[in-house]
């Protein structure tokens, strides 16, 4: 089982959190909210493209979502493979952090 990079993990989570409203900009803004910093577009969309090619994420175009005069907006959604991946990632994260106390307090003292 390949381990996803941190940004891929964040993207999967962002797409899950956004549910039916996960498109390019909203995904980027979600990651920016989660991390508290601005992200370059390339740092978001290149991994997103990789997730899509790996089959963790699929695209769809919502009916009647065409922007004024533009093309229909492309939305992103987790595949069942992506959901399984998130479950595994959660288990891995939890086992990594298991038994670690609040480090902020730990290192202050």
């Amino acid at each position: 089982m390949d381990v996803l990079s941190r940004i891929e993990e964040m993207l999967l989570l962002a797409i899950w959190k956004l549910e039916h409203n996960a498109y390019g900009i909203s995904i980027r803004e979600q990651v920016e909210r989660d991390t508290g910093v601005k992200w370059m577009s390339g740092a978001i969309y290149a991994p997103l493209n990789r997730l899509k090619k790996s089959g963790y994420v699929k695209t769809f175009q919502a009916e009647g979502s065409a922007e004024k005069g533009g093309r229909p907006r492309v939305y992103y959604r987790l595949t069942s493979l992506g959901k399984d991946k998130l479950v595994t990632l959660q288990e891995v994260s939890q086992s990594i952090w298991l038994g670690v106390p609040d480090l902020k307090k730990e290192f202050k003292s």
Binding site: Y23, G24, I25, R28, M40, S41, G42, A43, Y45, A46, P47, L48, N49, R50, K52, K53, T59, E67, K68, G70, R71, R73, V74
Partner: protein
């Protein structure tokens, strides 16, 4: 938010098209448009233009690296699949690989041979107009021994033959000069037209008159040194 007219330039669109499909392209375009509108509202259109040019460049670099990594991943995957197939069907794989390698080896050897054949005597000015006349033997092989009369006959009777030149190699001849004798293996009799057909450069003498005389001879530099000293 006022939607400023934003469109990816054609060239940039095509460049992106090398790495991503049209869905990802429209995602990127939407993002760039939003960033452009934000920057334009904050600090004017010229600054926003600069910013989006930078953003496009960094996006392109990201996608280029990404697609390189991706092709590497896919290559590893293909390799794995191929190895598995080979392992599962050993005999077929053996036959396939053997056939392919023999074929490739033949191709390479033929290529080398042709290149070697074509690499000789490139300096002749008329090289595309020089032909060698051969004699088809009864067993299907070809022989260069022809009757002496053929040269002049071809020249006289065929308009397309400009000049004929006969060459008669004398293998292993004894050559005597003063009191010294030499066994020569590379010696040939030829027609005066020899230098008209072949453009061997002469160190000394005129190619037009070099072989006119019945008893004239043309020597290589090395042979001349051997016979006459320095």
């Amino acid at each position: 938010m006022r939607q400023e007219e934003f469109r990816l330039p054609r060239a940039v669109r095509m460049l992106f098209g090398l790495f991503v499909d049209c869905e990802m392209l429209s995602t990127i375009e939407e993002d760039l448009a939003q960033r452009y509108a934000e920057a334009a509202a904050a600090s004017g259109t010229s600054y926003a233009r600069l910013r989006s040019a930078g953003a496009m460049l960094s996006l392109l670099v990201s996608f280029a690296i990404e697609s390189l990594l991706w092709s590497l991943t896919m290559f590893k995957n293909y390799l794995k699949v191929a190895l598995r197939r080979i392992r599962r069907r050993k005999v077929y794989a053996f036959i396939n690989i053997l056939g392919l390698s023999i074929g490739l080896a033949c191709f390479m050897l033929i290529g080398l041979w042709v290149e070697d054949e074509l690499s000789f005597d490139r300096f002749h000015e008329n090289k595309d107009r020089i032909f060698r006349v051969l004699n088809r033997m009864e067993d299907g092989s070809a022989s260069y021994s022809l009757t002496y009369a053929l040269g002049p006959a071809l020249e006289a009777q065929y308009a397309e033959v400009e000049v004929a030149c006969r060459v008669w190699p004398w293998y292993g001849s004894l050559v005597k000069y003063a009191d010294r004798s030499f066994m020569e293996f590379n010696i040939a009799l030829t027609d005066p037209s020899f230098f008209q057909v072949f453009s061997f450069p002469l160190l000394k003498g005129d190619p037009a008159t070099a072989l006119q005389d019945r008893l004239s001879i043309v020597l290589s530099e090395e042979t001349a040194r051997r016979y006459f000293g320095d």
